[in-house]
């Protein structure tokens, strides 16, 4: 019994982190129909900034991390994606790889290949509850921050005018524009918001394990993107749930598989992904109305 509770707690914590990354990816996809593999680099830069500023006053360090990923998000749009709005989907997809590829090389160049330690929130990596189940502070923080931020975003999208406009643009940007919704502003908001989310993901990841490597963000992004598609890309809620489920399943399988099978964790996860795609190509949580299979 305590085993199961342990699995569930770990699953929820990792699920919350992936869900945050999934929202960041789904926001951009919703507004621009852009599958952004370079999203991971926003996480990476925030993590490196945490590493570099780890001896600063904590709030300042966190703020610097947010600023860096927001700036990079806006910059990548200005430099690359903005010019590719009309390009075929395969081109924009590969452009995001190329960008990710180049940025990863920049991180190697600037920060070295061996990784840096971002011990900003290391205090969280201590035991909060021990005994039958083990809970570290960071697990609690992941769950709380994840839930709080997701609710905040939900409220923002439902209640604020710009949030309403973002949802409209995600649903049908052409019609939204004919109503006076300023596309540029909505796109900018989406990039800013996705940058903020990336920074928070970076904080949570480095709190759990402070080593920052050039591929840190890419790994999370791949899983989150898989989650977004598995959940259903066309809708922020289903995409977020998808991210959560992938994180949850990954953590639970990681705990539950015996030592000899644990190395095959990603095979099990991805096998489940394939099964879900085949059974529900529009997304695990998509309503029957949405089909969504034929895109890109």
């Amino acid at each position: 019994m305590s085993n199961v509770i342990q699995y569930i707690i770990d699953g929820i914590a990792l699920g919350a982190v992936y869900a945050l990354a999934a929202v960041g990816i789904a926001l951009i996809f919703g507004v621009l129909r852009l599958v952004n593999f370079a999203y991971g680099e926003l996480i990476t830069i925030a993590a490196y900034v945490l590493a570099v500023t780890s001896n600063w006053w904590l709030p300042l360090s966190l703020l610097a991390a947010v600023a860096s990923s927001v700036a990079l998000a806006v910059l990548t749009d200005r430099v690359a994606f903005k010019r590719l709005r009309e390009a075929p989907p395969a081109t924009t997809l590969v452009a995001t790889f190329a960008l990710s590829f180049a940025l990863e090389a920049v991180w190697r160049l600037v920060f070295g290949v061996n990784g840096r330690s971002a011990d900003v929130l290391g205090a969280l990596n201590t035991t909060a509850i021990s005994g039958a189940i083990d809970v570290r502070w960071v697990t609690i923080v992941e769950v709380v921050v994840g839930a709080a931020l997701l609710s905040a975003i939900a409220i923002f999208l439902r209640r604020s005018t710009i949030g309403l406009q973002m949802r409209a643009a995600a649903s049908d940007i052409r019609t939204a524009r004919t109503l006076g919704v300023r596309a540029d502003r909505v796109i900018l908001s989406a990039f800013v918001l996705s940058g903020v989310l990336a920074a928070v993901v970076a904080m949570l990841l480095t709190a759990g394990s402070p080593l920052v490597t050039p591929t840190l963000g890419l790994e999370v992004t791949t899983f989150a993107l898989v989650g977004v598609v598995v959940g259903g890309m066309d809708n922020l809620v289903t995409a977020t749930l998808g991210g959560f489920v992938v994180g949850f399943v990954n953590a639970v399988l990681g705990d539950a598989l015996g030592a000899d099978l644990r190395v095959f964790l990603s095979s099990f996860t991805y096998l489940a992904v394939i099964l879900v795609l085949l059974l529900r190509p529009g997304g695990l949580f998509a309503s029957r109305r949405a089909t969504g299979a034929e895109r890109v």
Partner: protein
């Protein structure tokens, strides 16, 4: 009900639109005087929707001038056209199906130049279209076609446009509902909103509108007035080959 400020007209001159290599609208000139209701009729594929899209800035015009009042709006992006005072009720309504009727209406107000009089405008459209009030909490995608059309027109009106572009508002509606749409148009006209209406039911349009342009293969072929209603019905029928 608030008095409407002076009405504003719409003028299109020498408009040319192409999709890639194919020109679908050529040398189109039409004029909607302030407060007029003017119809654009023509067979499928004649270029009516394309004309409205070009006015709205949704497709680029290759040539030609578009003026709202005395202001040139050619080359404006759609959001700027909307904020300049033109609202479009598109073919197929294009509500945001997953959002509530209320949210759809709220989006209609984004393009308003001022929030003055919003409450009155709201009361007015609710009077025109009871569905707007009755279903305000429902998902727009769950409404019937006629109800959706009402929401779409209401959404456009909440922008308080000078010019309203309507693309086949009666498409797929029962005769009774079509009647109510035209009744609403009478009210809208009374308020001084300038209207350019694309309509397949030519007789209906010719009888109702101040003027009716007949379009074929991307060009204007004929201009009719209500005087021609009885007679022109045959001309137009010949035009459509029906």
């Amino acid at each position: 009900m608030s008095e409407v400020a002076t009405a504003v007209g719409l003028a299109v001159e020498g408009l040319e639109v192409a999709y890639g290599p194919v020109t679908v609208v050529r040398d189109l000139t039409l004029n909607v005087e302030p407060g007029e209701v003017v119809a654009l009729v023509g067979a499928n594929g004649a270029g009516k929707t394309t004309t409205l899209s070009a006015i709205m800035g949704l497709v680029p015009a290759k040539a030609g001038a578009i003026r709202l009042g005395d202001r040139s709006i050619a080359g404006f992006r759609p959001e700027r056209v909307a904020r300049a005072g033109i609202a479009l009720v598109p073919e197929g309504r294009h509500l945001f199906p997953a959002m509530t009727v209320e949210e759809n209406l709220k989006l209609g107000t984004i393009g308003r130049r001022s929030d003055d009089g919003l409450a009155e405008d709201r009361a007015w459209v609710e009077e025109l279209f009871p569905a707007v009030r009755d279903f305000s909490g429902r998902r727009a995608g769950d409404l019937s076609g006629g109800q959706q059309q009402q929401v779409a027109i209401a959404r456009a009106l909440l922008a308080r446009p000078d010019v309203l572009l309507l693309d086949e508002p009666s498409l797929g509606l029962a005769p009774k509902t079509v009647e109510s749409v035209f009744e609403a148009l009478t009210e809208i006209r009374r308020r001084g909103v300038t209207v350019l209406l694309v309509e397949q039911r030519a007789q209906l349009a010719i009888g109702f509108c101040d003027r009716t342009y007949v379009m074929a293969a991307g060009e204007l072929r004929l201009t009719l007035t209500p005087k021609d209603a009885g007679d022109s019905a045959r001309i137009v029928a010949a035009y459509f080959g029906s």
